[in-house]
Subunit: 300 residues, 4 copies
């Protein structure tokens, strides 16, 4: 029973872990504290962790603000290093407590945990790289696990699965966007360059303008001035405006379909076929009665 709960939890952590013969006592306890959030110690650890991640993100943001940096920059610098070193120690402890080290290191959180400490160390050499440590905000995704917001994760997963399933359509869509902006960008370059060489200074610059326009962002830092250019620009705008909800529509269609599949919990006992119609009585593959399982699904 307890085992099942743990398994589900591990599912959200992103890698599987099972205490086997080889695990030492301290490893197991450490693991309980760092990776679990059932015990009191584990809860304390997790909440402290979330606090430090948030604090650390805030520090990096504040350090980048000139006015604040001039006044309390030194203290932020100290705090930042202190948090980074804490994170490093935590990473090492995580490595120690896990049996299958490679599994953790290559898991989603394993990678995030590592790349959220590297930039600060790199900042000794490349000063600016330090700000990239803000990627540690991704560690905050653990909040879903810690606060037992499993249903939130389900929502995210459902979206991710829909995204994966419709990746082909999205690829075709992006391909279309890139080719369109490339051709229209070159066309606008030829038309506008003579009269407006500052704005449409090169084809890549024109492509940038075409993307800004097609996506209806419209900064206005680059804008056509010739009549032909404005006519073409109008065309791009109307095109972009017309296809604006196509990609989301593709994904949401997939999302709806997934939900539907999820509803049909029936599975034929004879040929193991799934995805039956919601009101199906007979298996569409082998023709056997689905009734018994139908009854079961009604009870639950």
């Amino acid at each position: 029973m307890k085992n099942i709960f743990r398994k589900i939890k591990y599912f959200f952590v992103g890698y599987t872990y099972e205490q086997k013969e080889g695990t030492k006592k301290w490893q197991f306890e450490l693991h309980e504290i760092i990776f679990e959030s059932d015990t009191f110690k584990g809860k304390i650890f997790d909440i402290t962790l979330l606090f430090f991640i948030s604090l650390s993100t805030l520090i990096i943001m504040l350090e980048s603000v000139q006015g604040i940096n001039h006044r309390i920059g030194f203290w932020l610098y100290i705090l930042d290093w202190w948090v980074t070193i804490s994170f490093t120690i935590e990473y090492v402890l995580r490595l120690c407590s896990v049996k299958k080290t490679t599994k953790y290191v290559t898991s989603f959180y394993g990678i995030i945990d590592l790349i959220s400490i590297i930039p600060t160390y790199l900042s000794v050499i490349f000063l600016q790289s330090h700000y990239l440590a803000i990627i540690r905000i991704l560690r905050l995704l653990r909040i879903f696990k810690i606060l037992k917001l499993g249903s939130y994760i389900n929502e995210s997963n459902a979206l991710l699965i829909s995204l994966k399933k419709s990746k082909r359509k999205i690829f075709v869509f992006l391909y279309f966007i890139i080719i369109t902006t490339l051709i229209l960008g070159a066309l606008m370059y030829v038309i506008e360059n003579k009269y407006n060489s500052e704005n449409f200074s090169s084809i890549p610059q024109s492509m940038y303008w075409a993307i800004v326009t097609l996506t209806t962002v419209g900064y206005g830092d680059v804008a056509p001035i010739t009549i032909v250019g404005k006519i073409i620009a109008s065309g791009i705008m109307i095109l972009g405006y017309s296809i604006i909800s196509v990609p989301a529509g593709l994904v949401s269609a997939e999302y709806t379909r997934n939900k539907k599949i999820h509803l049909n919990t029936q599975k034929c006992r004879f040929c193991m076929a799934e995805n039956h119609e919601p009101n199906a009585k007979y298996c569409f593959k082998c023709g056997h009665l689905l009734n018994e399982e139908f009854e079961e699904s009604k009870k639950s």
Copy 2:
């Protein structure tokens, strides 16, 4: 019969009120005028109220316009105070006429009624706060009740329920937006700050830019100038453009589901057919009466 109508009306007012033994005659009459709109006096009161709310909003708007304020500012000031004092008296009368005072005070309209008079009084101390009195526009929502536009309220409620039900998905979506803009903002700060320190002066400023870009607003007050910056900006634009109708899609999916659930409560006792028309009396499949279940669904 009359009681039912009153109950429905109270539903729209936002709190329940029932004349009990303890209520005095004048209280009841005052309540009829202020809270009800059936009687002639009540109608006059409500329409006067709507007029003064609109007038008051207009006054505040005009007071903020320099040119107008110079010429007729004094008269607007007098009018504004006069309306505010009237609203205060009305609020006190409302308090008197209601039996369960706390119920009114903590209801939606009770809170709105209060905070729509406070800013004017506060303006004696904090001059600018006076303009916040524009929140009294929310009192205009009473128009739905007064003009007996119950169906409009139903529409609003249906939307609100859908919003509530999909709040988890919206939360995940906003979380995704914030994390994305934070990371991309920091990245752009590192890339652009050296060449474009005015626009990308800090990470919060870069985040602001990322939100402006991702939401396809694109003011153009902050825009990238480096090549790498423009490439990343293009990526953000295409991302924002691609997911633009995701949140609305989530809510509308919920909305459609709600509507559907609302329609389908009947189920034929003989052939178990579902998804009957909302006003169906007979099963569309086997022709049996649906009455008994129809009655049940009406009671609940």
Copy 3:
């Protein structure tokens, strides 16, 4: 048979006309030419009309361009008056040929025909009003009738019906937008006015900014500069971005429902109930068999 075709055609013209005893011969012939497009003369007339409408629109556009106006303004002026006088003669002829004059005058095209000649005459007094004659482009809608593009009109009608049916939802939505922009506009005025009095010079101006931002247009002519202002602006952007496809979603839901209703052509012979389920065998209202009509609908 011919009568039916004429009736359908009259439906698209926007008013009914039937040759009765009182109509004179020349009236009938004139009507055939001006209002019909079956006969050769009628066709010639209609195509000439479309040509002159397009020409007239082009003239008005060209007149407004400084460079062109300087050179050939006089000839455009002559042409414009000539077209307007022709349209006036045409309008008088239409009035003569129609039996029920008031029906034509109050019909959609009757009004358009009139207001497309008024601005030019008014331009003798108010110079600028002349450009408003561009409203005659609406006369081009006749193209659907002339080119017998009935199905296009059906599409438009289907959209219009959906719009009308969802007008309540749209009203609530617009109400929400206006209240939101009003309150946020006032808030931004209080916050930004001190530091940025040029951009946020008054509450109406701030409301304008709020609409520009909420609709994701983002001109950038007005933009916040304070930190609190930018945070609130980000909120408005994300709000506007999130609800962007809500109104279209509401309309399209209505559109889909209309289409569905259109599919269920069954009608009970006993109680005249419509809108049966697509696979219904029995009337959901009175329980009678729908079979016979079901068979009919299958044949057709």
Copy 4:
């Protein structure tokens, strides 16, 4: 068997080709290399082709960048001509290897292949035309055929078919957009021209502004300054914002319908149940075999 595969392949190439008596041996072999990608030689040819298309696009883009053109413009010029001449030779070879020359020349790829070499030759006379050679990026669409990404093509085709089917609705929508922007543009010209003659200098210019605003692009290079102008602008923004996903909604509705039609061709002969799973063999309602009809649907 092999014939079927070839036929499918030809489907993607865009024209049919069948080796008949008249074809010479070298023609057939050349065809195998140039048009097919099954053989080793064919694969090598295709990958080389994709590489040169990409290279050529990159060259044109780089040539347009001032800084790069100054330094290595000469070499890019040489490379560009070399690629263009190679493409010309390839085009001639394609002409030779195909039996039915006109079929190839008039096919989609035949046209693209030709117009992707013309601009470079034209650039001897019109210097700028050279950049239009970027249209050769469309030749990259062959990647779907070469990498055997048939399913990608299916997605594209499904989208194209939906577009074609909803072209009437799109036409009505565009007509509506153009008429709206024309009338509102003229109105804004009349209102704004007196005070803001730089921005709203003519009706076409005002129309450009109306399109920029309606599509929510909002460059900000043209913006209203009068109060009435701002009110109308707000109206256009809210209109544009409200109908933003209408065109995509129309197409996606068509897309969903197409998909559905594609799935549901089976119908049970015994209980007339429809909407079977795409791979269903037995009726989900009564359990009868669907085979016979399954076979039929495969043949057609």
